[in-house]
Symmetry: C2
Subunit: 409 residues, 2 copies
């Protein structure tokens, strides 16, 4: 594969994002192809977390709610995501988890159209979306959850549809829904879409405002590099904000949280979608993760992602014929990871991890690699495919230790 | 007040918990009487957060879900709270915020008795409890929220009552409900109680199992010293766990979260009350906070709390006649803070903070001081009251800068 390494080195030498790699701590001996599951530690996060811990909490104590603007963090950090998703700063808020945010927005929005009985989602959608939606549908009178195949989604949006919960980029295959077309389709039918951007934000260029998107949620710990279990974000279009009331009426979403009033009055705007006290240590790490995009345009990130994907796909086709790529080759139809079907995907994933090449397994038979342009080099792709080709050729994935299962697989 | 200082020094010299103060970072020049709002930074948390950040996240990356047992953290850390509240380890889980946990348990439990239409709570309860309960009642068919005066709670529990949401220790006054008596009263009426232990855990001895308590939530960032906005905990008695289904059906509460199944099946036991991915940086800080109780018995903590309260109350009565104590003098009827009514409580709080004596204001006219035996000395109480007496005598709280309001008051 000498020729492939030469080609990769040439691409790396010409990579306008190459210097961004220095923003991250990447352990020696590791090629990290799992930034779509958990982004790596930005170097600058270490210093800011020390400040948060020792100065803001340790020295500032309760005073930091005002003095360090902890109280403003959910809006401030949300505003920094706005640029990455094509939203206005005051349309984005950091809060809770993706699961909890889906519940808030799905229930609040469905209550606007109680006469439309269908909550719609995709079979094989990331399961937390389906589970949260099923719980919401059971709570709401006259709402049902209809789960249909991906190819049937567009046709299923109709006069009965209240809201469709769609994951913009599929967690397994990287297939991408056409946000503009489906949002228009829903609008024409008098329905709404709640977009899950967990595998989209920081991965592909997004233009929520331009698409007329009204509702979205997304993940902080994947491409945004916000740390394990980082708080999530939610987006509500300006025009819709004051029409929705969260079913989770925590005090931080009150119009006057420090007046301690018995009666609930939602805060104006996006703040009403807060629930409890925001987790400041985690919020700070998320703010650090988002800062890893400072000065970076999503178009440039995406251009490199396309190059990384094409390189990975071409090499895998040539050297790893045992694998079937399940991700779309058309870049307009996919996100920023590449996935393959293989009957022994679990063992193959473990065999790669044992060599320091970290991708992940998605049950039952998918091996998935995140292509994260801020810190991956083309050389890393060649190394990863070369290692995989060797493991496959030697069938060394058959080593029994690679079949052992942790609690997280 | 020389005689008072001498008395305080004698009490401090005899204090069996005195050495615990070294476990905390307490800034120079500060007397911290707000540990019931945000506990201070335990010194050991600095090292463990560094390990979490740089080793577990930075070097371990996604592998730490198994290798560092991130996946087990919500149960493991919950189990460490069990000892402090009189529960079995597998009855306690770390998850989300107090607000979100109230919603989960209130809705899940109310659905067990749909024929009983009353959700009951206390007027002037901490407002997030009331707001969450109002949202839950609106979502549930045939449920209503009845909010009655504290003195009327016991009498209001009857044949209509589905569940009472009661805060064990009142956030303003420190008044304590009789958990055993009210739990028995509810059980006799065929109703349930969901206890909010936010101002109880780590403050007073608790025996949830002994009281027959079935449901509780509590805060991680007050007496548990888990950091600003730390994750909360929830308690569900063993006998009830598998009868409840959370309305927030996130993937971490699924029986097989990594099988990626479309259909929801709640995990057995306490794990079903997880929703989204747990925030690991914040979880770790909470685990560090709970460790500040290692080797400490709650009876000893409470004995010192009573001493601190009595000292504070006696000195305030003598030297700060302008204030009216609103906390019960009978220790069996209160928690571990002391509160006073004063028309200019806001300004007084600010004037004290300007001198490094940090308590907090609770609208409209309460000044509140947390009495946290792990790190407070009797001497601190004398100093605080002496400063307050001086401010009151000189009316220096009238300085206009003490009337300025931050976003958090």
């Amino acid at each position: 594969m000498t020729i492939d390494f030469d080609h990769a080195h040439a691409l790396d030498a010409a990579d306008p994002l190459a210097l961004l790699r220095d923003r991250f701590h990447l352990p020696d001996g590791v090629i990290y192809l799992d930034g779509n599951s958990l982004g790596p530690l930005p170097r600058a996060t270490v210093a800011r977390q020390k400040d948060m811990l020792e100065k803001q909490w340790g020295d500032g104590l309760i005073r930091s709610w005002n003095d360090a603007d902890w109280i403003g963090a959910p809006e401030r950090i949300g505003g920094k995501i706005a640029r990455l998703i094509g939203a206005k700063p005051h349309e984005v808020l950091i809060a809770d988890s993706v699961s909890v945010n889906i519940f808030k927005l799905l229930v609040a929005a469905a209550q606007l159209s109680p006469d439309r009985p269908q909550i719609l989602s995709e079979a094989g959608n990331f399961h937390t979306d389906l589970h949260i939606a099923s719980g919401a549908a059971e709570l709401l009178p006259d709402q049902r959850l209809d789960v249909v195949e991906r190819s049937a989604i567009e046709g299923a949006i109709g006069g009965d549809t209240n809201i469709a919960l769609l994951t913009h980029i599929h967690y397994k295959t990287a297939e991408r829904f056409d946000m503009a077309a489906l949002t228009a389709r829903a609008r024409d039918a008098g329905a709404r879409v709640l977009w899950d951007l967990s595998h989209s934000v920081g991965a592909v260029p997004l233009d929520l405002n331009g698409c007329g998107a009204e509702l979205a949620v997304g993940c902080g710990y994947k491409y945004l590099n916000g740390g394990p279990g980082a708080p999530a974000f939610l987006y509500v279009a300006e025009s819709l904000q004051d029409r929705l009331v969260s079913p989770l009426r925590g005090w931080f979403g009150h119009a006057r949280p420090f007046a301690f009033e018995d009666a609930y009055e939602p805060a104006p705007g996006i703040m009403r979608f807060q629930a409890g006290t925001p987790p400041m240590l985690a919020m700070d790490a998320l703010e650090g993760g988002i800062a890893s995009f400072d000065g970076v345009e999503m178009d440039a990130v995406w251009a490199k992602s396309v190059q990384l994907f094409d390189l990975f796909a071409r090499l895998a086709e040539r050297y790893c014929g045992q694998l079937t790529c399940v991700s779309p080759t058309d870049p307009d139809r996919r996100g920023s990871h590449i996935s393959f079907r293989f009957d022994h995907a679990y063992e193959l994933t473990q065999a790669l991890i044992a060599r320091g090449i970290i991708g992940d397994f998605r049950a039952p038979d998918i091996i998935r690699f995140g292509l994260t342009p801020l810190y991956l080099r083309h050389e890393d792709i060649v190394r990863a495919v070369a290692a995989m080709a060797k493991i496959l050729a030697e069938e060394s994935w058959r080593d029994p230790r690679f079949a052992e299962r942790g609690r997280v697989t």
